[in-house]
Symmetry: C2
Subunit: 320 residues, 2 copies
């Protein structure tokens, strides 16, 4: 993973919005009287769980694919992922009529493998270690000439993720805070770039599980500290920052709140029960931060990016 | 239960819309590319699961309460119900500053009792039989002077329920069919009145569990046939038609499709997984009818009223 030559800017987000407007869903912003009452804040939920493939990841993946020159596009795109980025890249490639090569751990749930396959991607399985994933990807790229699209340490991906905040700020009036979850930092980076440029008085703030607080510790230490055995229900947030997202967040992010596992489950369940929408655990982390920090958020107008809704309905965290 | 002097008309629905516009949510209409592909039809889901108290019932209850003259309103309103109508009437009464007296079976789930109590209603418990419910309600009404608001055999309730279809038809273009579930028939009656008046070329069609097909059999026989031990997961649809809803549906309804239990579960799960929204089993019954009758619906533009989203998250029908 090397440092790209440039950091993405708000202009890149605007370009991304033009590029992907025809393929991404313009997702709704929902409000909830009951959750406002519970939290004491006025909350505006940007519903990326309703995005195509069920997560914001489709914004970044489609922007990255659509930014490639035709000569590079022909040989396809590749990544390693067992999660939302794999499905997002597969669909983005399919829509552009090119190939997606996805390296997935052989332990991936069948339902995720099926989703990626349904979008026409070619899957290569590997052992479930980061080393095996990276080595297998390297082989696939050498063999096919496909372009590696990193899930977050890629300026086009970050610019694409920033379009969620762009839409949110256009959909609602002034906000005091915009909250997003922090995993690898792609969504948070795009969000921070957009919020700082569009609304200088609005604070971009991250939320992270205390059990996977590597971004919080990295920003505090001034260097990337990888997570150690991150044990959190928010499986989308177990990744480390990359050089690019670390650089952007160091410059743009106001702060990070870390939250307890039990608050994540409570937040997720409140969103399901009161708003009647399905969000994955990672998506509930920002609302968990609101619940844990009432004095900070009380009376504020808070935008929350609900990052996704892909969850195993057979294994819910409150089931006994 | 006696026959009211008049049947509600489309004009009553229009009056209801004016009356309740300030208190009900104008719910969104959602579409799903994936469910369109699966069904072969173009589907427009009217999301009453996002309505206040989580179900369309709040439309009828608030219209009934707001239609009462001040002299009657003062003594409060009453009903017997363990379901959505109880919560809906409790909230409607609270918003008008009057009392709601709710008779609930002593076997009601604690979560439902808590919801009704949270809206400030006074609860009287009774044995879990229809006879005990009716007798207890009679005592409450005699003691308090409260006005009994029947959950569906009431023209103001029916007119209120019709506002969901009114909004739907205003939100989308021409439709070939509007589908709603049939339990006591209040939602279906209001829907049929509205659709027949606003769009003469659009067919109002009902959907009912085969295991609780009393409305289907009643309309065929030309007389009300009560359900016999209705054994369906769609717990909101176990009730019999009333004289009023029977009269309206006999005149206005195009037909009823009955569906299997396994299709209801499949339809519910598809809505959860693909649309990322929470609907209760009763709300999935119309989409189940689309899945079971592809030749009828293929290529058609179909409005579906998703009746509610109140479901016990601890007991999902696909959990083992």
């Amino acid at each position: 993973m090397t440092m790209p030559e440039r950091l993405p800017t708000f202009d890149d987000v605007l370009q991304a919005m033009k590029r992907i407007a025809g393929v991404v869903h313009h997702t709704p912003v929902m409000t909830s009287r009951l959750l406002n009452e519970i939290s004491g804040a006025e909350l505006f939920f940007k519903c990326e769980n309703f995005q195509r493939v069920g997560a914001f990841k489709f914004r970044g993946a489609s922007n990255a694919v659509m930014s490639l020159p035709q000569s590079q596009l022909q040989k396809g795109v590749a990544t390693h992922s067992s999660g939302n980025h794999a499905a997002a890249l597969a669909l983005a490639a399919q829509l552009r009529g090119t190939s997606a090569y996805i390296v997935m751990p052989e332990t991936s749930p069948a339902v995720k493998v099926a989703a990626v396959r349904d979008y026409g991607a070619r899957i290569t399985f590997c052992k479930p270690t980061l080393k095996a994933r990276e080595e297998t990807l390297q082989q696939v790229v050498e063999k096919t000439g496909a372009v590696f699209i990193h899930p977050y340490n890629n300026p086009d991906v970050i610019a694409g993720q920033g379009t969620a905040a762009l839409e949110l700020l256009e959909q609602v009036g002034e906000l005091d805070v915009v909250l997003a979850p922090v995993g690898g930092g792609g969504l948070m980076s795009g969000t921070a770039i957009t919020v700082r440029a569009m609304r200088p008085s609005t604070l971009p703030i991250g939320a992270e599980p205390a059990n996977a607080d590597d971004a919080y510790r990295s920003l505090k230490a001034g260097r990337i500290i990888p997570p150690e055995n991150p044990n959190t229900i928010a499986d989308g947030l177990r990744t480390a920052l990359g050089p690019l997202t670390f650089a952007i967040l160091s410059e743009k992010l106001e702060r990070i709140f870390t939250v307890k596992e039990e608050t994540i489950v409570r937040a997720m369940r409140l969103i399901w029960e009161r708003m009647k929408i399905i969000v994955e655990p990672s998506a509930a982390v920002p609302f968990a931060a609101v619940l844990e920090n009432r004095p900070f958020f009380e009376g504020k107008r808070v935008g929350i990016i609900l990052s996704g809704g892909n969850v195993d309905l057979e294994k819910l965290p409150w089931s006994t």
